[in-house]
């Protein structure tokens, strides 16, 4: 197996620090050695390659931008983004696993948790001993989570949760779920709070969603909470209102913007290799203008997306990034990655439909990525509102 060389047409490498490059190279190598040889078989079987979790933890991939005092790597956001890029170069499902663990479970515990909660959970999650999931979406409330009907009622001894969550990545694998629920009236969005719910609690069940044609190397589950009792200290004390889960989503979307670049690079790399070696009508197909136009378009979009991510990361490291800037990058990069995956699949002809090649797997995966963490449309509306000051959501 040849080593992945990346795509770097604008010497973006020269804009990275030595540590950032070292982090990227370590993860790239790990993906080459350990993920690439097994991903197609796990994708076809329809399950997350769980045996990789201890290795990912040992490398420090979980919550890598959180502080060292909790057993995390304490990286800056650019290095964190590069990790997501390299993981998704392998497979969006594996990047999703790391995104959920780090940005959607460890991040809210770090941001909204008590010292006690942080000390208890974060080191165990960094080491992969505890896997988490994030329950926001419900069967009837996807793009509009404000409407959620999952409720938490305070009792003598703690909280009682009732409701259902859908499309929950890692739901059946997780030992712990961050569940978002309303503590007040059904229309009281300000009453949304986050809870740390052990998945072995009475009344908690997780069922894998079957028949997925996308993100197959990731487990996606439906959660049902029926009179689930948790202690008082299951509440994330600093969470409050819809803005809390949205802050988590901004973290995860940031990583997705980078991840999409990884998937795009993987496809572009595959397209170039194939175009140079596949001979038809007596010459490599890369020698025909139509295929060159395809490749030129891909390289242009990959390069733009790389620069977008890097500046987004620098802004985030300076504490200046806005959620709207993250929306723009998620929207653009996932969209171009999906286009690049589709064009690669087509360039590969019949071979492009095989799991032996990467393009169609990435293409199918990216359709999920296009939808989750705010659909492409929703990010369009976020940007539209930012530009005009007018709300077009409802």
């Amino acid at each position: 197996m040849t080593k992945f060389q990346g795509v770097d047409f604008y010497d973006v490498d020269g804009l990275l620090s030595e540590e950032e490059r070292a982090v990227r190279d370590t993860v790239r190598q790990w993906v080459d050695d350990n993920l690439m040889p097994v991903i197609a078989e796990h994708y076809l079987a329809g399950g997350f390659p769980k045996h990789l979790v201890p290795q990912m933890a040992e490398l420090g991939l979980f919550g890598a931008n959180l502080p060292e005092e909790y057993g995390c790597a304490g990286l800056n956001n650019v290095a964190y983004g590069l990790i997501m890029q390299e993981l998704e170069r392998g497979d969006s499902g594996v990047r999703s696993f790391a995104s959920v663990q780090g940005a959607l479970v460890m991040y809210p515990i770090h941001a909204f948790g008590s010292d006690e909660q942080k000390r208890h959970w974060l080191p165990k999650m960094a080491s992969g001993e505890v896997i988490g999931c994030f329950g926001l979406t419900e069967p009837d409330y996807g793009s509009n989570p404000a409407g959620m009907i999952t409720v938490a009622r305070e009792s003598e001894s703690g909280w009682i949760l009732n409701g259902a969550k859908m499309w929950i990545t890692n739901g059946s694998t997780a030992q712990v779920a961050i569940v978002w629920a309303k503590t007040g009236k059904p229309d009281d969005v300000e009453s949304i709070r986050g809870f740390i719910v052990p998945t072995d609690a009475n009344g908690f069940s997780a069922q894998d969603q079957k028949g997925k044609l996308s993100l197959r190397a990731s487990d996606t589950s439906e959660l049902v909470l029926q009179d689930v009792c948790v202690a008082k200290d299951a509440l994330l004390p600093k969470s409050g209102g819809l803005k809390s889960p949205l802050l988590c989503l901004t973290q995860a979307r940031y990583g997705i913007a980078w991840g999409a670049v990884g998937a795009a690079m993987a496809c572009y790399d595959e397209a170039v290799g194939y175009a140079k070696t596949r001979v038809m009508f007596g010459k490599p197909i890369g020698g025909f203008q139509l295929q060159q136009a395809r490749l030129a378009e891909m390289l242009t979009e990959v390069t733009k997306a790389q620069l977008l991510c890097l500046q987004l990361g620098r802004l985030k490291d300076q504490g200046k990034v806005t959620p709207q800037q993250v929306s723009l990058a998620k929207r653009n990069n996932v969209n171009i990655a999906t286009d690049i995956a589709r064009e690669t699949r087509r360039l590969l002809g019949a071979n492009g439909i095989l799991a032996e090649y990467q393009a169609m797997r990435h293409l199918a995966n990216l359709e999920s990525v296009y939808t989750y963490e705010g659909t492409h449309d929703i990010h369009t509306l976020i940007l539209g509102q930012e530009i005009t000051g007018l709300n077009a959501f409802n």
């Binding site: 370590t26 790990w30 490398l59 890598a64 790597a73």
Partner: protein, 250 residues
Amino acid sequence: MKIAVCVKRVPDSETRVKIASDGKSLDEAGVKFILNPYDEFAVEEALRRREHAGAGEVVIVSLGPPAAQETIRTALAMGADRGILLQADRVPADGLEVARALGAELKAGAYDLVLFGKMAIDDYNHQVGPMVAELLDLPCVTAIAHLEIAGGKGTAEREIEGGVEVVEFRLPAVLTTDKGLNEPRYPALKGIMAAKKKPLEVKPTALGAGSLEVLALSPPPQRKDGRVVGEGSAAVPELLRLLRDEAKVL
């Protein structure tokens, strides 16, 4: 136990190298440099010795340009304790000059064990390790694939043509490492962050001219395209004819 590991910055085996305009060196523009893969076995072995003993120090020594600091930091990220760069503008073609500079540094360090990769993947010379051993008057075992150390003595195994050679030696000693000795670890992310804070001493180093000079570099001749002579058993007579008359290998 105090262990020195000598490492070299080399072009990545996957990069396409170009010959510079002087016709006798590499054009380094756009070339990715890595820690010489055989040296990774040496670093890993040193780390395992230290971890096994629960004490000791692993010192990384490299001779090279300022950019070789990055190579040293890769080894520090894997877990080594500190680094020394013998900084020179160029690495001479003559391995003896490199060995002299490394030898002088190592002599002062009082190491129990000095490890090298068996060769560097850029020049394939297999020289510097044994030369350093000679200069320091230490026993040397090259290309080891297995190592045991106890009570001031060591036993190493080398894979030789058709068998295994077992060599016993006393410490201090110089060893060069081969594939199969161990599985080098990845520099974990925490290690990469920690490496920034580990001491790395840079010592400007003057080197002799040496008695070797590279006159010219040239790429290997382009391979001719293959040819399909036919299909199935019907192709065998023609294949035999070509192998006999054209390729002259039969």
